[in-house]
């Protein structure tokens, strides 16, 4: 990936962090480190976030009662804080998903038509 592509990915990452977090939590309850690891794995390394960037968003979602937080003790006697997507969060996520898809499809449509026009003019 060249520098321009990386810069564009960074901009897109900024605007989609929240919906991606909600998407992961809609799959199952997760703790902080797990969220980062899952995000990286499911995006094949493209959405590689630093964990700190999640907490302001998680905190906001907590304050809006979209998610909840539960402390659990693991088999190794370690305390893990799991984040859980609440019903209101699920509704919010569905709305964001619709808006996100609509926007991305539109962008894709415009980009495709530009490519088609360029191909036609080349021929």
């Amino acid at each position: 990936m060249n520098k321009n592509e990386e810069a564009m990915i960074t901009k897109l990452k900024r605007s989609t962090t929240e919906v991606l977090l909600l998407s992961l939590l809609s799959q199952k309850d997760m703790y902080g480190y797990q969220l980062t690891a899952e995000m990286k794995q499911q995006s094949n390394g493209l959405c590689n976030y630093n964990e700190t960037t999640f907490y302001p968003i998680l905190n906001r979602l907590l304050n809006q009662n979209m998610i909840s937080m539960t402390r659990m003790i693991t088999d190794q006697q370690r305390v893990r804080v799991y984040y859980h997507l609440e019903e209101s969060g699920k509704e919010y996520y569905e709305d964001l998903k619709i808006a996100c898809r609509l926007y991305m499809n539109t962008v894709d449509k415009i980009l495709s038509s530009t490519e088609d026009n360029n191909n036609e003019s080349d021929n």
Partner: protein
Amino acid sequence: MNQTTNIRPKDIRHYLKDIKKQLLLTHSKAETASIIEMLQTSINEFIEDNPTATMEDLTMHFSDYTSLNDIELYNTDSKILEEKLNHSKTIKKIAFIVLLLVVLAFIIYAILCVKTYIDIQNSIDAYKVIEIK
């Protein structure tokens, strides 16, 4: 927390302090405290999972405080940012007015001191005629 860790509690405190400073630019004190608490918990989890991790590993995983601003400024409501900026402007104005008042008070004090000195000097007789009978 594992005591054999390479990460000193002092370094973690320093790291959290840096993050806190950045968060306060875009969040209230209460929100910042809450985020820092979440982060602290997660740092503990990280150290428990990676007992041999160094401070560099921790910073790489959790991000340095500068990259935090990139995402946060983008996700912060523009109204909140405007309020923060206005608040900052108001503080600057108040600081300027206070400074101006202090300077004025000092000038008035200096003038009064000089005036008092001159009055005292004037009240002292330069010479006195003593009549010898």
